[in-house]
Assembly symmetry: C2
Homo-oligomer: 176 residues x 2
């Protein structure tokens, strides 16, 4: 612990799913930092199968909010980043790699949002077939491109306590 | 950018896959911080299906290194954390959710390792059936617990430049 500031660890424990937003847009430079952080994640054999649709259009945010269970807050977000995966680009064209790669990028994006003082929430799309079908149509996604999650972004309108859900029962030394 | 130190952004760009390690153990307190950061990741409906096998035994590290393609460095790592997912615990018992949840936890663990000055590398297991079968046997995993990746950890023995693999062609404004 002596080699690291509490600041850096706050990043992990202070990041919470923020569903209430204050007014205010997210400028292009800030969005660019978020996407650079997302694309700094590791991916299987560096195939980088992640793709990003950035949604600022209010009507589209409303449609996403209506389509996605647990996604109501998208209608009040400054914007959303819909993270997709291109199955043709993934290692061995396998969904299992695509999902791991996209999820690593999403987690970077969420943590970077928190580092920048933004609030964000991971709204699931995959593996819900109904959600995926609707988002695919709304965003005109090519056949090989799977929508994985919509990340709602805005300036935080709620403050949540830092926490971890660490559970010692989930840790097995040496073997199960 | 004016609200955030470069330090915090270095976390994303400075984290690299470190495959060469200097001598030195990772103490239990440091491991505990890594696991707390991993379990601070979001998960679908907070089901937290992630499970962790912490491997310090040198012989077992050698067996993991021999079993996993791209995992040779595990034999010289201070330790490994094998991240698994319990399908019975995942939302709707679906692999798609399990993989996203475990990958978010893994990315937190990797970034936290970097924040603590450690070097780490994500060695894939899932969806390789052969890798999964071998790790499952080695670690005596229950039937519903799937090994997803082995994270090698050690004090860094190589320095890699900060970077992002940001590609503007992967970003689509408003729709595809």
């Amino acid at each position: 612990m002596n080699t690291v500031s509490n600041d850096k660890l706050d990043l992990f424990f202070g990041r919470r799913s923020i569903r209430v937003y204050a007014p205010g847009a997210i400028d292009e430079q800030t969005l660019s930092i978020l996407l650079k952080a997302a694309m700094a994640a590791p991916s299987a054999m560096t195939k980088d199968p992640w793709r990003f649709v950035t949604v600022r259009n209010q009507a589209m945010l409303g449609r996403l909010a209506a389509a996605l269970p647990g996604g109501k807050m998208l209608s009040t977000a400054a914007m959303a980043v819909v993270v997709c995966g291109d199955l043709d680009a993934a290692l061995e064209q396998r969904l299992g790699y695509l999902l791991q790669d996209c999820s690593a990028a999403i987690e970077n994006l969420l943590l970077c949002a928190h580092a920048l003082g933004l609030g964000a929430c991971w709204v699931g799309i995959h593996p819900s077939e109904d959600s995926a079908r609707q988002v695919r149509e709304m965003l005109s996604l090519p056949k090989a491109v799977l929508p994985i999650a919509a990340i709602s972004l805005g300036w935080p309108g709620e403050q949540l306590e830092a926490r971890t859900r660490f559970n010692p029962a989930y840790v097995h030394p040496e073997r199960w």
